[in-house]
């Protein structure tokens, strides 16, 4: 992966930068020992590593502002970091950067059930947002698989989704306001506990901007009352085509399940081995979950199973208890860890129109043959968000490169059939160089215009999202000016 050449001038001023950072942060919040900065050398895309020059762990918005003001004055790139769970390399450092970790900022600042929101510091993990309100019957809806570890800061940066977003939407649909610290240290409040923007929807642009427009330190999040109950049903089919047709029929019938998850045989096996969820062994498994009272669930599942029966399922089983439901979901949510036990893998998240699922799965199978790498498929079938997991051997020279070539071909296929490169993980560095397949130069120019406005010197989270060649003229002009 090509990264910009580290700025030797910045590197030569490391001691001075560290000293300035220490003047505004507690002693233990500035990490500059190369042994310790290694802890920040990568995120969950572990194939790429680069220790940062310095890492800082501020505890307040004011400290974040101080850090950014100093880095801005010193011309030091800043890479914001939540919990480091990005699968796209969204928090990959550059050698000349300051990593700004928000992990120490994890307080709940305000809980308001009458108005149905919480305001939190963004280092708080996704699951612990729900944890703060669930004893009162509420929850925060977006639920990425990594929700135990991932921070709200990263969820906002990547506009994270989850298994239940068919009904509840993704982060951007549940985010009401942010405190944004800009690269020059200015702090702005955008949105709040009210709905929608009275002017331009800056909140909508910030969400999903991969930490390139500012550092979000506080967030107002919509919370909802938990449903009375939820119950999944497992459906096994002889082929992905049949499962796909069943999904389409369920949606067309007017039922909106809270989640429709798909797993192929390989994933069923590794997840079953991991979670003992008693999954049926078949070519294609759907987990369909509905919510409501017991009677409401019965009614919806009656309709859904009737539709499923028309497609000759090889297995059809409702969860019989909350414990069984929990196991069914534990298996699905552990899919990445489960496959990680048996192989190195690369996880893609291209999204396609639901109608193209059978075709795309067939093509991925053909590519698997061509590249000689096994692939498992698990995905959010209701919204076409795929997760092909391509297995490779990190210790075998050349295997990663073959895997990346395979991945790129899959993502190009997603775009070709009317979909996109990434549905919920973000572009990061992983899909950066594929952006030109989805977007024309004028499309990327419009996005970079936004970057120019928020971060005119292009110091925040460098070398992500835009292909280096595309951003090169801007970055060269900035260097020349300085």
């Amino acid at each position: 992966m090509e990264m910009p050449v580290p700025d030797s001038d910045v590197l030569s001023r490391k001691a001075r930068v560290v000293e300035r950072l220490r003047s505004v942060l507690p002693a233990d919040a500035v990490i500059d020992d190369p042994m310790e900065t290694r802890a920040y050398e990568c995120d969950a895309l572990t194939a790429y590593r680069c220790p940062p020059m310095v890492a800082v762990l501020p505890g307040t918005t004011a400290q974040v502002s101080d850090v950014l003001r100093i880095c801005h004055a010193e011309g030091v790139p800043v890479v914001p970091r939540g919990s480091g769970t990005s699968l796209a390399g969204g928090a990959l450092p550059t050698a000349d950067c300051v990593i700004l970790g928000v992990a120490r900022m994890n307080e709940v600042l305000e809980t308001d059930y009458d108005n149905r929101f919480v305001r939190v510091q963004t280092g708080r993990t996704n699951l612990s947002v729900t944890g703060a309100v669930e004893s009162d019957g509420f929850f925060y809806a977006p639920d990425p698989s990594s929700q135990l570890a991932c921070a709200i800061a990263g969820n906002i940066a990547m506009n994270s989704g989850g298994a239940h977003c068919l009904k509840y939407g993704v982060t951007t649909n549940n985010l009401m306001g942010v405190t944004l610290v800009q690269m020059d240290g200015a702090v702005v409040e955008i949105g709040g506990a009210h709905l929608d923007s009275g002017g331009l929807d800056l909140l909508g642009v910030i969400c999903g901007s991969e930490g390139q427009l500012g550092v979000v330190t506080e967030a107002t999040l919509r919370i909802l009352h938990k449903p009375e109950g939820a119950r999944p049903v497992l459906m096994g089919f002889d082929s992905a085509e049949i499962a796909g047709a069943c999904v389409g029929d369920i949606i067309k019938a007017g039922v909106l399940p809270v989640a429709i998850e798909f797993m192929d045989k390989m994933l069923i096996e590794v997840c079953e081995d991991f979670a003992k969820a008693d999954y049926p062994m078949c070519e294609a498994l759907l987990i369909v979950e509905v919510e409501g009272s017991d009677a409401e669930i019965d009614d919806q599942l009656a309709l859904i199973t009737e539709i499923a029966r028309r497609h000759n399922p090889v297995a059809l089983r409702e969860s019989a208890s909350p414990e069984e439901s929990a196991r069914i979901w534990a298996g699905r949510k552990a899919a990445f860890s489960a496959i990680g036990r048996v192989s190195d893998y690369m996880c893609l998240d291209g999204t396609i129109p639901v109608s193209e699922l059978p075709y795309v799965l067939r093509r991925i199978g053909e590519m698997s043959q061509k590249y000689g790498l096994p692939v498992g498929n698990v995905f959010h079938a209701g919204d076409g968000n795929m997760h092909p997991l391509i297995c490779y051997d990190a210790n075998k020279p050349g295997d990663l490169e073959i895997c990346e070539e395979f991945g790129a071909e899959v993502l190009k296929l997603c775009v070709e059939v009317g979909g996109c490169l990434t549905g919920e993980h973000g572009v990061g560095i992983e899909k950066r160089d594929l952006m030109t397949y989805q977007y024309a130069p004028s499309d990327l120019e419009a996005q970079m215009a936004i970057k120019d406005v928020f971060d005119p010197r292009w110091l925040l989270n460098p070398a992500k999202v835009f292909p280096l060649a595309v951003s090169q003229p801007r970055r060269s002009a900035l260097l020349a000016a300085e």
Partner: protein, 372 residues
């Protein structure tokens, strides 16, 4: 004015423009500071380009009449869940809403409180920026985080950043049954308390309004489910008075602010729901109001009276509480004299102005409509 029928036509018209352009779809939304210029009519870009009911997505050219889209969806038993409002009655305008106008103004109705706003259902856009460049963003799939989200930025930008040429939307199934619980004679405070209790319940209330002094709470879904939830919710709300149930409530009265039709000056205010009564309490005598979104959306109307003074009062109280107030209807001279859209905090205003300068460098797209 030439009839524009394609995106290329729009691009050519914009790049060749020598002065301000008034971007117009159906011409139903005479909102904002008055703009003088040549009308750029996009209603010639019309037609549904793709509709996949099984994927819950529809793509249409921006000038497609909203009614045409709603009819196509209804034929497949689907709908636009954000319930776009129709401003013709309130504003006394002719014409028919276009889907581009709906997205450009982020026009959402009562179901916004549960399902989300127009911006939440917008999956992709194509537009022509102020320099005449064609730009696309997003796409036609439900989850898409590829690059920055210009779809949200374009939603609610009132044609000041670009001229929408095509939009793609997420749609949802229509429902089998709808019912409304009604509690009469509630003060704004008691009304918001009742609506908060309902919206904080697990019963998926899809509309919560205070209209004609009564609270309306809407439940939608399968008939058996609606019946169950109506009974359960009646139990929750017993302390607020007699809770009656009707299947005939006309929610377009709420959506289109029908009780305020005929009044010369009307505001649309968004605050957190609990602050709704504070906004109402601050209004000068003679103003009429109604609440939607559980108290978070307040429609204010004024007959006789000093519109400019009321405008200041409303925007001041909203600035203090947090939120925004927009003058949705007013005489031309009033709209020219006051900030029609809530003034933004200085740091935000700088960012917005810089974005406008980048997307519309010549300042020719609805110039001054949102900010003088």
């Amino acid at each position: 004015m030439t009839l524009l029928t394609s995106e290329a036509d729009v691009a050519e018209e914009v790049s060749g423009a020598t002065g301000p352009l008034i971007v117009r779809g159906g011409g139903t939304r005479a909102v904002g500071r008055p703009v003088t210029g040549e009308v750029l009519e996009v209603s010639g870009l019309s037609g549904i380009t793709l509709y996949e009911p099984g994927a819950l997505t529809i793509v249409a050219q921006a000038g497609t009449p909203l009614a045409e889209i709603e009819a196509a969806l209804a034929a497949e038993n689907q709908r636009l869940a954000f319930e776009p409002y129709d401003m013709t009655g309130l504003l006394g305008t002719a014409g028919a809403s276009t889907i581009g106008g709906v997205i450009a103004t982020n026009a959402s109705g009562p179901r916004r409180i549960q399902a989300g706003a127009a911006r939440d259902f917008a999956l992709g856009v194509r537009f022509v920026d102020g320099a005449g460049h064609v730009v696309k963003n997003g796409g036609r799939v439900m989850k898409n985080v590829t690059g920055y989200d210009l779809v949200k930025l374009m939603s609610g930008s009132w044609g000041t950043l670009g001229v929408l040429t095509e939009v793609s939307l997420k749609v949802l199934p229509a429902v089998e049954a709808t019912t409304t619980l009604v509690i009469r004679n509630l003060s704004p405070e008691r009304a918001v308390a009742a609506m908060s209790a309902a919206l904080g319940s697990p019963f998926e209330v899809s509309g919560a309004a205070w209209i004609d002094g009564a609270v309306w709470l809407r439940l939608e879904g399968f008939a058996s489910s609606v019946a169950y939830r109506a009974t359960s919710l009646q139990d929750v709300l017993r302390g607020f008075g007699d809770v009656t149930r009707t299947d005939d409530a006309d929610w377009t009265r709420v959506r289109d602010a029908v009780p305020l039709h005929g009044l010369p000056t009307v505001w649309r205010v968004s605050v957190k729901p609990g602050d709704g009564p504070d906004v109402i309490a601050a209004l000068p005598e003679g103003c009429q109001s109604m609440m939607d979104w559980g108290g978070g959306l307040i429609w204010v109307g004024q007959g006789e009276g000093d519109g400019a003074a009321t405008h200041r009062i409303v925007q001041d109280v909203v600035a203090r509480l947090g939120g925004h107030a927009t003058l949705m209807k007013g005489a031309d001279d009033l709209r020219a004299a006051v900030p029609v859209f809530q003034p933004e905090a200085p740091g935000v205003a700088v960012l917005s102005a810089a974005l406008r300068a980048r997307f519309d460098p010549r300042g020719i797209l609805n110039p001054g409509l949102m900010v003088a």
